[in-house]
């Protein structure tokens, strides 16, 4: 399973801070994102409305970044620290 984390406004919109999704061979951030969008309509909505960033195992990731079983993938809005 892939362990999924949601942060900030995204966390509030999907109403959960974590989720688990099955891994498939050849997974990337894109395929995992799409799989979650199928399972969580609120997540699909947020994806349509603005930028959603991702990190895989605590490293900022791109659409094509590979994802493996037992990885942690976090989804979040553009950051606003500093």
């Amino acid at each position: 399973m892939i362990h999924v984390l949601f942060f900030a406004s995204l966390r509030e919109r999907v109403n959960r801070d974590q989720w688990e999704v099955a891994a498939e061979p050849g997974d990337t951030v894109t395929s995992v994102r799409d799989r979650i969008a199928d399972q969580l309509p609120a997540f699909a909505e947020v994806l349509h409305q603005g930028r959603v960033l991702a990190a895989v195992n605590e490293n900022l990731a791109r659409d094509h970044t590979p994802v493996s079983d037992r990885d942690t993938v976090a989804f979040f809005p553009p950051v606003t620290g500093g």
């Binding site: 976090a74 809005p77 606003t80 620290g81």
Partner: protein
């Protein structure tokens, strides 16, 4: 020559004078020290803001800032570097972030501090929520912050 790095993510306030003193003590032969403090003060057109709440991704915050400091060390000649970022509830007027660096060259110290702030604002996993008398709302990332970070991309790395 010592090149210590300190990254602290904490809810407590920090004292910029103490942090400066640590930089000075850490690198006794180094002639230039630059520091920056960001405060929760100006909110533009929202007069009813009472403070902030800073959410973060524990683990990734520290490692992403450490990676930014590594990048700064590749580009500039730095000795001691300290970054402190508060999280959780921060009231109006309070300090949020401290960035400091020492170097034999003042240009390197200035540039590294600005680079670290510009990248921290666009890459480190923190999210600000403004608290007002009428409720709370998430702050959106500013295009101007993205533009500032991009400047460093095109300046080339040695």
């Amino acid at each position: 020559m010592p090149r210590p790095t300190a990254v602290q993510i904490q809810s407590e306030n920090f004292d910029p004078a103490e942090e400066y003193a640590r930089l000075e003590a850490d690198t006794p032969e180094i002639g230039a020290i630059c520091t920056f403090v960001g405060l929760a003060r100006s909110f533009g057109d929202r007069p009813d803001v009472t403070g902030l709440f800073l959410e973060h991704y524990p683990g990734m915050t520290e490692s992403s800032i450490e990676a930014l400091i590594d990048q700064a060390r590749q580009r500039w000649s730095l000795n001691a570097v300290r970054v402190i970022h508060r999280v959780g509830r921060i009231d109006l007027g309070e300090r949020i972030v401290f960035v400091g660096a020492s170097s034999a060259h003042r240009g390197d110290a200035f540039a590294a501090c600005e680079f670290l702030m510009d990248y921290l604002k666009t890459q480190a996993p923190f999210w600000k929520k403004e608290r007002t008398t009428e409720g709370e709302h998430w702050v959106e990332q500013k295009a101007s912050d993205r533009e500032r970070a991009k400047r460093w991309d095109s300046q080339g790395e040695s």
